[in-house]
């Protein structure tokens, strides 16, 4: 299979490292995020996935290296300019005030209202579409703090969509979702990418990454272990080494994507159960 000609990267990490105190959380990671793709960031706990995402978002500044958005380093943007170009979905929301779900989604329009680049009608339309796409319109009048974790996640995604930016950075959006909504959310991400969005998403479930990502960045101990299409990155030997757990990779019987199977390490069977 030949690679399609790659379009120009919209967001690019150039040999970024990040240190805090004496700890090196990320070292020398380079990757490009292209318009039209879903890039999954995977790796074991503490591999530096969230740190990488926050560097890409401009929430953290790299200790070395640079992150470049549309040809300009992130540091050269003002926060309000950045908010028009990239949206960030956090791992969990800390909101404790009783805003309704719809009011939370409407907050995504703030950067456009501030830049006077939107009118009421556009705002209404974008908000309605974001809520329809995440099936959150039924939650519109509910108070955000009273929603379940999964419902809060979908409302937060709707807020991120309402920001209407070419780059979306999602930190474990599927974390507290049931299996149907996990697939719904990633199918939506894929659809947005086909419309031209550039999406980086942290995932814990390798099978979700295999099914929906165009490329996978595998992080291990703060370094990029591999980067490429799912088929190339999701190799038995590499996954077993990175996750330090025996993993088998098969072909999914019903679709054409890799199927990742952790191999359970059973304790030795008691004598009575063993034959002979």
């Amino acid at each position: 299979m030949t690679e399609p000609p790659s379009p120009r990267a919209i967001l690019e990490a150039q040999a970024v490292s990040y240190e805090t105190g004496s700890q090196r959380l990320l070292s020398d990671v380079s990757l490009e995020l292209l318009p039209g793709e879903v890039l999954a960031i995977v790796g074991p706990n503490g591999a530096g996935k969230t740190t990488l995402l926050r560097l890409l978002a401009g929430i953290l500044r790299p200790t070395c290296g640079a992150v470049v958005l549309d040809g300009r380093p992130l540091g050269a943007y003002r926060p309000e300019e950045l908010a028009l170009r990239r949206a960030v979905m956090p791992q969990q929301s800390l909101l404790r005030f009783g805003f309704t779900a719809r009011e939370v989604v409407a907050m995504g329009r703030y950067p456009h209202q501030r830049a006077r680049q939107s009118d009421r009608l556009t705002d209404e339309r974008v908000i309605a579409r974001a809520m329809a796409e995440t099936e959150t319109h039924e939650l519109a009048d509910r108070l955000f703090p009273t929603l379940s974790g999964g419902e809060q996640g979908r409302v937060t995604l709707a807020r991120v969509l309402a920001q209407d930016t070419p780059v979306l950075l999602l930190d474990e959006p599927t974390a507290s979702l049931d299996i149907r909504h996990q697939h719904g959310m990633l199918a939506l991400a894929q659809k947005l990418a086909r419309r031209g969005a550039a999406i980086a998403v942290i995932l814990h479930d390798l099978n979700l990454a295999a099914a929906y990502a165009d490329r996978i960045a595998l992080l291990c101990a703060g370094q990029l272990a591999d980067l490429g299409p799912p088929r190339a990155v999701l190799r038995e030997s590499l996954l077993t080494e990175v996750f330090r757990c025996p993993i088998a990779v098969r072909c999914h019987p019903l679709s054409d994507c890799p199927l990742i199977l952790p191999i359970a390490e059973r304790a030795a069977a008691p004598d009575s159960a063993s034959p002979g």
Binding site: F99, G149, G184
Partner: protein
């Protein structure tokens, strides 16, 4: 659009609000008007609402047909009106400061007292009374109170902040610790004070607007007006700030600038209020909570509504302070704390029940 992936599911639409927000501002303005007329009219000398209006109109050169006595005119003009104006200003300042700080600290229980601005302002004022120097004339006390309040708030904010985050419990505990230190310093100064200074200090710590004159009112007006006009300009940013600092930043809010500006404005308003009226507790904490039940948490409604409600509430508290034990006068801080304390307890219980909702 993703109807296959997200099939429709009926969810109960409970809505969030107690009353429709459409009635909020007309209701608050009517309440304020009523509170002003009651305060102008009741007291040792009765002045009917029509007479009050006629007296004010007469001063402005518009003669009305309603009769009033010269005594009524001078009582209204020299005593009741400045007192009403001061009570309204102080109430609006305290309530708006509370609503603003609760948003800035993402904590519904923050108030100017909890984060040290009141005790800092009191220390500044007591120190001024004791030192007896007045480099800025009559404005020295408000300036000292303002600076004390600002420094104390910044100290609490700085000490409670860790790794760019302000933890709710840490903040409240830091506030308690700083209040204790500032209170001890004020206590030490009180110990050193002469009898005359002591009387001035006691007036302070109980809180009163009984000493209101046009002079004190006009001294507090510019400082409080700056806050009343400037703070609501940040309300859209404040809405995002309660999502969390990182989320606000990624939505384009210059978080540090917004935070520091709003803290400075709250310290300015509270400092000015404390300077002219002493410490009046619970208004800043309680009023935004009552208003939020009706307005919801959107700061674009909450901030102006809190200012209006705070003005009304302090007017009613002042009315109670000067009529309940007439002819004696209760300190207004005693009245607001008596009413506010039980409400605060109810608030704590309610917050605990809300957190028990299964996530």
């Amino acid at each position: 659009m993703l109807s296959r992936a997200f099939p429709a599911r009926r969810a109960p639409a409970t809505g969030g609000r107690l009353v429709t927000p459409a009635l909020l501002f007309p209701g608050l303005v009517a309440l304020l008007g009523l509170a002003i007329l009651l305060n102008l009219g009741l007291g040792a000398m009765e002045i009917r609402p029509a007479q009050a209006i006629a007296i004010i109109a007469d001063r402005l050169g518009i003669p009305l047909s309603t009769d009033f006595t010269p005594q009524q005119a001078s009582v209204l003009w020299a005593i009741r009106l400045p007192r009403v104006a001061l009570a309204a200003l102080v109430g609006a300042a305290l309530a708006l400061s509370g609503a603003t700080l609760q948003g800035v600290f993402r904590n519904p229980l923050a108030d100017p007292g909890l984060i040290g601005v009141s005790s800092g302002a009191a220390l500044g004022a007591v120190a001024t009374i004791l030192v007896g120097l007045a480099p800025f004339g009559l404005a020295t006390l408000p300036i000292a109170a303002f600076l004390g309040g600002l420094l104390a708030t910044l100290a609490v904010y700085g000490l409670a902040r860790q790794d760019g985050r302000t933890d709710v419990v840490t903040l409240i505990l830091t506030g308690i610790a700083c209040n204790a230190v500032l209170g001890a310093a004020t206590g030490y100064l009180t110990f050193l004070a002469t009898d005359a200074q002591l009387r001035a200090i006691v007036f302070w710590s109980l809180g009163s607007i009984g000493g209101a004159t046009w002079d004190t009112t006009l001294r507090a007006l510019p400082l409080i007006a700056v806050g009343l006009l400037a703070a609501p300009r940040w309300s859209a940013a404040l809405n995002l700030l309660v999502l969390g600092e990182e989320e606000a930043t990624s939505l384009g809010v210059p978080t540090e600038r917004v935070r520091l500006s709003l803290i400075a404005l709250a310290a300015l308003m509270t400092g000015a209020a404390v300077a002219v009226a002493g410490i009046i507790g619970f208004v800043g904490l309680v009023v935004p909570h009552i208003v939020r039940l009706v307005s919801g948490p959107d700061h674009r409604r909450l901030l102006p509504a809190s200012a209006l409600a705070g003005a009304s509430l302090l007017l009613m508290a002042d009315l109670a302070a000067r009529t309940l034990a007439a002819p004696a006068e209760l300190p207004i801080g005693v009245v607001t704390a008596f009413a506010g304390g039980p409400f605060f307890l109810w608030l704590l219980r309610r917050a605990r029940q809300e957190r028990a909702i299964p996530g």
